[in-house]
Subunit: 266 residues, 2 copies
């Protein structure tokens, strides 16, 4: 069955886009059919996958506002088994446009799984993909709520920095609220420590604190700070295509294996 | 006369909070009376200045919604000449609460400078401070619009990473729109390159591209990647108090001097 993950954290610059692209590419590399949905008006995930501005005529704004089907909005990437619904600044106007629509939190869910009443497993995304990853903007706004309402699980990138812990409880509260009011099935799939630098004592300290505070929810795999991860987007490729042997790519391959293990034995 | 700067960039994790705290502390260290306004519901600037959760009963939500005056909302910090209006998650509800108020974009401006019609220089902030710096959230929402409507200038922190350039044109468009519709005096005070790492060729490349593309708007001072800057917030202090001699503190002192030079000879 299809599994949908929202990659969310309202703290900015923690590695949401980098995780969506590279975890997605790693799952595709081990044979899963993966769709990435870019739900950030900045469109960083689309850029990191090499989607030019002029190729974003049909994008996640059109998918959510019902102007395009999933078939029309999803496009292939340079990686086998990896597809993307791109984003651009069209998305920035959606909040206001749909603020009085009663289904405003469910738009992405319905675009992926079909309108309310569609039998489980028979939606547009169910037929074509094994996994959907949704890149969220750095905010707890309607776009992030749409991602969480459409999702089975939330993957939370957490930077190994002091401010990272500050927003965590707000994020977990929001996930709880969405679970109670919009999507009973929602759970935290896992928390991934990003930009981990073992030479830096603050980084090691934050990682230790998070593992103590959250326990088994934190993936064993952490993502090291690795300059190749920040270079890959300028070539429009996931790190796996840009430099498969680098520490960043290897970490995301390990993370994909760990995600799949959790899916088998939840 | 009072000068108000919005520290804004919708790209996450670029150093908005770090710049607000440390540029503010540097201006205070050279004798200016400085107020920092935390306009991010994450409250990172408040934490970085040592404001405990229980000391945020009166905060920027109360200031903007008219429930507290500037006198009541501003509090002293451990640094001389440096005051702060703290923030917490109360602020997250403001968007919805004021969405149909005609003055919703002007709330902060009126709280600092007095209601419409107050003669220039006679508002609550004019009497007490030389500079106000406003830490914006990572989004182009009503809180960031409030910051820009209240401001004379925008200080734009720009991380030396590939994705940094992506959002710049959206940000400059937003500044233009606010200037045309809400605040004719608004201008870009400057763009500051942050987390500059001269050992990393991507960082040097992005810095060179930005200077070529934007010219003199970019400050000569760039802020190096310096772990002491990310450690200071865990001690509730600006870097200037935590470690005045470190490369980060010295860079922010230089930046403050450059900002003051621009103020003298615009
Ligand atoms: N493990 C890593 N090592 C080195 N650089 C990284 C790593 N992960 C991410 N980066 C870089 O750090 C910056 C922030 O990462 P990214 O853009 O993925 O974060 P984000 O959470 O999506 O940001 P936003 O909040 O703006 O959406 C980017 O320039 C990215 O290339
Ligand atoms: N020059 C620097 N050197 C090292 N670390 C830095 C530097 N500037 C900022 N940091 C660290 O990088 C992280 C992001 O910085 P900061 O929180 O100031 O960015 P921001 O733009 O305010 O983020 P947000 O978009 O979430 O508001 C923080 O953990 C901060 O301590
Ligand atoms: Mg992102
Ligand atoms: Mg911040």
């Amino acid at each position: 069955p299809l599994r949908v993950f929202a990659v969310s954290n309202q703290k900015g610059g923690v590695g949401k886009t980098t995780t969506t692209i590279n975890l997605g590419a790693a799952l595709a590399a081990v044979g899963r059919r993966v769709l990435l949905v870019d739900l950030d008006p900045q469109g960083n995930a689309s850029t990191g996958l090499g989607v030019e501005r002029r190729q974003r005529e049909t994008n996640s704004y059109h998918l959510l506002s019902g102007r395009a089907s999933l078939e029309e909005a999803a496009q292939a990437t340079a990686s086998e088994n990896l597809w993307v619904v791109p984003a651009n600044s069209d998305l920035a106007g959606l909040d206001l446009e749909i603020s009085d629509s009663p289904r405003r939190a469910h738009l992405l869910r319905e675009a992926l799984r079909g309108p309310e009443g569609t039998p489980a497993g028979e939606g547009p995304a169910d037929q074509r993909f094994d996994y959907v990853l949704i890149d969220s903007p750095p905010s707890l706004n309607l776009l992030t709520i749409n991602a969480m309402t459409a999702a089975d699980g939330v993957v939370v990138p957490l930077q190994c920095e002091f401010f990272a812990l500050e927003g965590l409880s707000q994020l977990l509260d929001t996930i709880d609220r969405v679970k109670k009011t919009l999507n009973r099935a929602l759970a935290v799939q896992g928390v991934v420590l990003t930009m981990y630098d073992r030479r830096n004592s603050l980084s090691a300290q934050v990682a230790a604190d998070v593992r103590e505070y959250l326990g088994g929810v934190v993936y064993e795999t952490s993502i090291p700070r690795n300059v190749r991860l920040s270079e890959a987007p300028s070539h429009g490729k996931p790190a796996l295509l840009y430099d498969r042997a680098c520490a960043g790519s290897q970490a995301y391959l390990r993370l994909a294996e760990e995600v799949l293990r959790r899916e088998r034995d939840p």
